[in-house]
């Protein structure tokens, strides 16, 4: 009895905990970055392609705009990002080594390497955990990039292969599905291309490209860290009003919360389902106690004979119900904590979900209280039934 309540409480609180933590880890996808800037588009679209590598950039921005931002006195660091190419379905991100110094996620965690190191040579690539796992790559592997977005099956830059120099630890973020290369390398592989295809008759071998000026002319987005958090709105205004070309600066936290609200219907459905499970569990409890009352009529008659009034009988049954619900609830919390401790590493390793099995969130405690209150109210039903039976039966139940 208490066990079925415990299980339903575990489900309810488990869903609640996962929901809260998923939301938290989502909104901390790029903690530590104060602003994300790119070509003027909608804030959500900018976040989608710049952070989540979903969809295409509407427009690129000029290198001069990046320099203007990077040289602004309020800026502590600015990391350029270039998107557009892919490798066997994974997005290729052009950036510089500052990316590995400044990109933070979750609880201000930096990207760490499980193998190898950041790029040194121009054709080095740092790959995410999913890329390494699904394609079976190790440090030293040679890879070739595809031109254009993933899945389009377009031409490959076969003459300029890359070498995997490092593999990142799993983060649960789009980073895991990205191949990071140097900005200069992106320029290099497109040197002898024009309009999306290699220029006929022109071919610049890999060893010569290093001699060219490989400063990029265009990038897709900029990750910005400010010297002082307080200046974020000023900086945002500066970028939005930049005269050089139309730009947009987004506060990541705000845009992520908006994105999350799209998912909110899913999380609300999940909560509703678990609430239903709890309701079923409680109904089961009431049904079982009610059914058992028939057996207990003699016991109630004995209590009447030793002086327990019908009100005492009522309270006895109601408190019994409450105790079962409380025991079930506590058991459920305990069970969830234990299960969480065992499941957390598995979730992390296989699904990239970071779950901390420790303290329940405030919302979870509220839900628990709600469950116990409902349980108490629901226990009043068998209590009342016992009260009526006791009145009717008196000392000698008719059976």
């Amino acid at each position: 009895m208490a066990v079925s309540i415990a299980l339903s409480v575990m489900l309810l609180l488990g869903v609640e905990q996962l929901r809260t933590q998923a939301k938290q880890s989502f909104s901390q996808s790029i903690s530590g970055t104060d602003l994300v800037a790119g070509a003027r588009t909608s804030p959500i679209q900018l976040m989608l392609y710049a952070v989540f590598r979903l969809g295409d950039a509407t427009h690129n921005i000029r290198w001069s705009s990046f320099q203007a931002i990077a040289e602004h006195p309020a800026v502590a660091w600015a990391v350029p990002i270039s998107l557009g190419d892919s490798h066997r379905g994974f997005a290729v991100v052009g950036t510089n080594t500052a990316y590995f110094e400044h990109f933070q996620y979750g609880d201000h965690r930096l990207l760490t390497f499980v193998e190898g190191k950041p790029f040194a040579d121009i054709f080095d690539a740092v790959i995410g955990a999913d890329v390494a796992e699904q394609l079976g790559y190790h440090v030293g592997h040679s890879i070739v990039l595809n031109h254009g977005a993933k899945g389009l099956g377009l031409a490959e830059h076969t003459d300029k292969p890359f070498k995997v120099s490092g593999i990142l630890e799993r983060t649960g973020l789009p980073v895991d599905r990205s191949v990071h290369v140097r900005l200069e390398a992106i320029e290099a592989i497109h040197l002898d291309w024009q309009g999306g295809a290699p220029m006929p008759g022109v071919s610049i071998p890999a060893e010569y490209v290093r001699k060219f000026d490989l400063v990029p002319k265009e990038i897709t987005a900029v990750l910005i860290g400010l010297k002082s958090r307080a200046g974020v709105f000023q900086m945002q205004r500066f970028i939005n009003q930049y005269k050089g070309e139309p730009l947009l600066a987004v506060l990541p936290g705000v845009a992520l919360d908006e994105l999350w609200s799209i998912v909110s219907i899913v999380e609300k459905s999940l909560l509703a389902i678990s609430a239903l499970v709890v309701a079923v569990g409680l109904s089961g409890l009431v049904a079982v106690v009610l059914a058992g009352l028939g057996e207990r009529r003699r016991e109630l008659a004995i209590l009447r004979s030793v002086g327990a009034g019908p009100r005492v009988v009522f309270m006895l049954l109601a408190i019994e119900g409450l105790m079962v619900v409380t025991a079930g609830a506590l058991l459920g919390v305990l069970g969830l904590t234990v299960l969480g401790l065992f499941a957390a590493p598995v979730l992390e390793a296989h699904l990239g979900i970071s779950y901390s099995a420790g303290m329940l969130s405030a919302e979870a405690w509220r839900l628990l209280l709600l469950v116990m209150t409902t349980g108490f109210l629901v226990s009043l039903i068998p209590g009342y039934r016992a009260y009526r039976m006791s009145l009717a039966d008196g000392l000698i139940p008719r059976l």
Partner: protein
Amino acid sequence: MSPFVVDIQNLVFQWPGKHGFRLSIPQFLVKRGERVFLQGASGSGKSTLLSLLGGVLLPQPCHMRVLDTDLTALSSSARDRFRVDHIGFLFQQFNLVPYLSVRENVLLPCRFSQRRRQRALQSAGSESAGSLEQSADRLLDQLGLDMKLARQRVTALSVGQQQRVAAARALIGHPDLIIADEPTSALDADRQSEFLDILLGRCDDENVTLIFVSHDERLGSHFSRTVDLDKLCETAGEST
């Protein structure tokens, strides 16, 4: 103080509904200290009478006094209190609360009645909680039960042992009246006599009035007075 423990005149009780059973008793008197054997078949109204005596059911207004108290004038919670303060009950079977130990079952009335609690303590000689248990144990011993059983679960006992525990519960704290509803019917024939002798012995020692209800007329030989329930009542349709 009236010499009568039960003093009933012109009692009428009607169960609700068109064909509800109707109990009508012109007169029923029980003296203090009497041992009354109330004989009646099932359906003759004995459950109704016992419930009326116990203050669980209320008759239509009449003269009904139990231990000098007009039960019809009391509220239901006052009647509950009166019942536990002065009356001990013995049922046919399933007399005990299954999730309490033997000793806890015996002491049940003391949890609901201050009066019986005091009297149980007095019989043990002092006023501390420890002696409540001693009181219970002593009673169990007097009823022929091994005191080692005191802390066991009641489900471990035989029917005969359970009935003795029930008798102890009815007797603890010196009630004035014991009402027993077929307490021997679930026992083997040879045990019945034994149980009856022990119960009567205790009632004699403590000077407790006993109303013993049964359909088995052979048991009547143990009692000084036998009352036939059919003769006591007027059923619907008959007149005095």
